[in-house]
Symmetry: C2
Subunit: 332 residues, 2 copies
């Protein structure tokens, strides 16, 4: 049978068990031009909190009663599709379910022998690609830049920071708690770290970036963005990647210090990895090479069981995870 997670109610604030409905259906059969994927892992991402709001964003909201949108990696178990054949592994938007019936649109084949399967929805998946295009195309990093990254131990920030290090930048990561900070400093090789749960964020940025930042890669929004805006260097670039601190709030925090962009002639730019589809191949090849050389490390926090989706999803917001959050949905 195919267990599927449907959106049952739109939550206010944090999602609860009532937000979702676990539904069981027969495993689908492929029609002409279709394939069926048995999903091994699904990706849990902060953006999901946006997709279940009934507001216009860069994608239409998930409708009530629909399978929850999500990135997946799995094996083709049945196919009447010209290119995706039985036994191949494919990644794409399979949704939070154990089996996906698809015409292959948006799916791409991956080599399961190169890196572990969860890496294809982590460091070499959307989070890694987001980091890659954000740090190069939006932040326009160059050697010697002082680069500050919020959510620095997270799926996107950890990759963005390591790429900046590879390119000769001075990298400071922000995260909550000593464990994540030790991870950024000791394992990822960041130059300095700020533990926002144990240090005033304004003081921490001043201490670690005494002359200000050339680049701020923002994954969190809120007061941390505000503090960063106050300490920019001339010509600074801010990439607005996400605002996880605000996704469960109805009253978004507006950064008061945005007008410092005038003083420093700074730029604040939003971006989406979806726009870089034609260059995913370039990015995956480059990042795969760095991984093989041991220069780029990713970490997946893997939990098990589609039944545990909500509990696992909440770890995105309470900070209780290490690395990219992945849920194993395949059952042995």
């Amino acid at each position: 049978m195919n267990k599927r997670l449907l959106l049952a109610h739109r939550p206010e604030g944090l999602p609860t068990e009532d937000t979702w409905k676990l539904d069981v259906q027969p495993i689908p059969e492929p029609g002409e031009g279709q394939l069926v994927v048995r999903n091994h892992y699904v990706s849990l991402d902060p953006a999901m909190r946006i997709w279940i709001k009934d507001v216009r964003s860069y994608l239409p909201p998930v409708q009530l009663g629909d399978v929850m949108r999500g990135g997946t990696i799995g094996e083709v178990i049945a196919s009447k599709h010209p290119t995706f054949k039985e036994g191949m592994y494919v990644s794409g938007w399979g949704g939070i379910q154990q089996y996906t019936l698809t015409d292959g649109q948006g799916m791409f084949a991956v080599d399961p022998s190169l890196v572990p399967l969860p890496t294809y929805i982590g460091g070499l998946g959307m989070p890694g690609l987001t980091a890659y295009f954000g740090i190069f195309d939006v932040c326009k990093i160059k050697e010697g830049d002082v680069v500050l990254i919020s959510g620095g131990a997270g799926a996107v920030g950890s990759v963005a920071g390591q790429i900046a290090k590879i390119k000769g930048c001075y990298v400071v990561g922000i995260a909550g708690g000593p464990e994540k900070c030790a991870y950024m400093k000791d394992e990822l090789g960041f130059d300095d770290v700020i533990d926002y749960k144990n240090e005033n964020i304004y003081a921490g940025i001043k201490r670690s970036c005494p002359k200000g930042m050339d680049v701020y890669f923002d994954n969190v929004g809120g007061e941390i963005l505000d503090a960063a805006l106050a300490r920019l260097k001339l010509g600074a670039r801010i990439a607005i990647c996400g605002a996880i601190s605000q996704y469960n709030s109805d009253d978004f925090y507006g950064p008061k210090n945005y007008s410092n962009l005038i003083n420093v002639r700074g730029t604040m730019q939003g971006f989406l990895v979806l726009d870089y589809g034609k260059r995913y191949g370039e990015a995956v090849a480059q990042m795969g090479q760095w991984m093989a050389q041991g220069k780029l490390k990713t970490r997946e926090a893997i939990y098990e069981g589609i039944e545990n989706f909500n509990d696992t999803f909440l770890r995105l917001f309470n900070g209780d995870k290490k690395g990219k959050l992945v849920l194993k949905v395949i059952e042995d």
Copy 2:
């Protein structure tokens, strides 16, 4: 004698008469390499409210007891300077005083027969140049763009909007009150206008830009910036030129909708006209030509008497003026 306006106290909120001290000194004599300018007009600008705060900005704050910083246009009445000779008219940072002793740094000669003198500190001065570089270099306007401009009847906004019209954009101006709105529509030729004092700003933007904006040129900040952020088109550019609605406040308004920059892949960029010094000539020549052709109109609101500085300055913030605010300081 030379009447000079000194900064006496740093105000909280709006400046008062006590903020300033009118001081009288003998008219200075030029030393070797110096000249003395008899100022006819001084420029009153929103940025002055920033310069008298004791905070780091793009220029050092005016010190207590110093002559207030300000742009000027006047005649050289005595000179031991190699290039600026008696009888020439020069513009520059002469300060709020009737006579300026200077080594000529930052001064440039102008032709008083081409346009009226006040225009050299208005449409062809810093406000006009700010509009020129903001609309071209920051907003990167192109034909057919929907361009929204706050402070659209003001010194900068009125020029920015007219340039956008010349370049084939659809231009919507925001200002307060029916008189300013009629000015933008009837005299400046804007396509549509929003009277923020008599129409909800969110509704006004939705009405006048039903498909959103490609460009937003922001002179005011606050809720108007927030409303504009909510209705951007894909790839929109926001120029942060100023935030006059916030300069007298200790609690800056942070725009909650900034994260819409992600959805639309938008850019918000601060800029300063000071960075474009090498291209002032190009801009003045182009704008002067448009003025001669009747395509670019500027309006100066001229008040008289250095004694009336504070009352006149407050017109910047209560909206009680038409066009670029200029104070005549020469006495007959």
